[in-house]
């Protein structure tokens, strides 16, 4: 059952994988921050003040609050040339960290930003005194939720799994898929379907006309 397309996985850690679609989507998530120096006429980049001539509407003053996507924040972040400064998003702050350490299983990680682990790892790039705690929280959350993912993915055969995956973030969903695949392969083998010849998924969509239709 060879796949036709091998996707590049997310580079979970302080570096992203350049070619990974998951990482690209993840870096689009926004961080709260503020402009440290005045940014004349650059408000259009953030989607504000378009189509107006007023200089003050088109620029950001020093200290104004911004919502910056991660890729922009990483590029503009420099401790020497203070252009912007970033703050931690809500879910990585103290209050939510205690929720995660109390019981990580009840949190709906999909709602909290579907890329919790990736985004959290990227946040460690910005110098921040709370970084060790953030890293520790992310690791502990993963460990706490591991059991439930393993059990649900290895036991749900031929069922609708949307209720099970609804609260998982993207990384956990990929793991769930892998677990399901292991289970499905085993069941398929046990039923004897592994030795049956089936049409490859690559050609099933070609929709060739059958021979009987071509004649006459």
């Amino acid at each position: 059952m060879a796949e036709a397309y091998f996707p590049v996985g997310p580079g979970l850690g302080m570096e992203e994988n350049f070619l990974s679609l998951d990482d690209i989507l993840m870096s689009q998530e926004k961080l709260p921050g503020r402009a440290e120096s005045a940014l004349p006429r650059l408000a259009v980049l953030m989607g504000q003040g378009a189509g107006s001539d007023n200089f003050w509407l088109l620029s950001f003053l020093q200290g104004s609050k911004l919502e910056i996507p991660l890729w922009l924040a990483k590029g503009l972040h420099d401790s020497k040339r203070r252009i912007i400064s970033v703050e931690l998003p809500k879910i990585f702050r103290e209050a939510w960290r205690t929720v995660f350490s109390a019981d990580a299983n009840v949190v709906d990680l999909h709602k909290m930003g579907p890329y919790y682990y990736g985004f959290g790892s990227q946040l460690l790039n910005f110098e921040n005194p709370e970084n060790p705690e953030i890293a520790q929280t992310i690791l502990q959350t993963f460990i706490a939720r591991f059991r439930r993912i393993m059990d649900s993915s290895q036991n749900a055969y031929n069922e609708d799994t949307s209720a099970l995956v609804a609260r998982l973030d993207e990384l956990e969903r990929a793991l769930f898929q892998v677990g399901q695949k292991g289970l499905n392969d085993f069941q398929c083998w046990e039923k004897g379907q592994a030795s049956q010849i089936t049409a490859s998924s690559l050609v099933q969509n070609y929709g060739k006309r059958k021979l009987a239709e071509v004649d006459g």
Binding site: M1, L12, G13, M14, E15, D78, Y117, S121, L124, N125, N131, P132, A135, Q136, I138, L139, F142, I143, F146, R147, I149, M150, D151, S153, Q154, L171, A174, L175, V178, G179, K181, G182, L183, D185, F186, C188, W189, E190, G192, A194, S195
Partner: protein, 186 residues
């Protein structure tokens, strides 16, 4: 590895048959087989046994562990112990499936045997998951599990190795390490 590949490896195991034809010793690359005399039991690999059975040229004799009493003992012992008990054959799951599918008429009480083997499999998989969970929870560096069969490892292996990969990457985040990521363009 796919289950079909594990089954392929399992087919090398030897099983006893009683042929109803006669043939001199055959010399194969893997070794010699035979000679075959009608009515006399001979040991052959499972792939040959299944093939002969499908052509109705032999009768299969179930291995001595494939018996309801013995399997009940194994199942009960598996449920009692916390660690994995040694299995009568490293390929018990595959052999059960093959022999029961192709030669169930030669094996007495085939349905009960199937149920017992399935119960044992379920118990072992539950133990494997429990041990994987405690491994991850305590972030151990390595673990040793005896008496696991290849099919069990294969079913949970991919999931476990991927999860451990992720955990490793998240753990290296804890050490700030080199901070030479920034590149100055000016």
């Amino acid at each position: 590895m796919e289950p079909a590949e594990v089954e392929f490896l399992a087919e090398k195991e030897l099983v006893t048959i009683v042929p109803n034809f006669s043939l001199d010793r055959i010399h194969l690359i893997g070794g010699d087989l035979g000679p075959f005399n009608p009515g006399l039991p001979v040991e052959v690999p499972v792939w040959l046994a299944i093939n002969l059975k499908q052509r109705q040229k032999c009768r299969l004799i179930p291995p001595e562990w494939m018996d309801v009493g013995k399997l009940e003992e194994i199942r009960d012992q598996e449920r009692k112990e916390d660690t994995f008990t040694p299995m009568p054959s490293p390929y018990y799951m595959e052999l059960t499936k093959l022999l029961l599918n192709y030669a169930s008429d030669n094996i007495p009480r085939a349905d009960e045997i199937r149920t017992l083997v399935k119960d044992t499999w379920d118990t072992r998989m539950a133990k494997l998951r429990l041990s994987a969970d405690s491994f991850v929870r305590q972030q151990e560096a390595h673990a040793k599990l005896d008496n696991l069969t290849l099919m069990e490892i294969n079913t949970t292996g991919t999931f476990l190795t991927q999860a451990l990969d992720h955990m490793y990457k998240l753990r290296t985040n804890l050490q700030p390490g080199e901070s030479s990521h920034s590149q100055d363009f000016w």
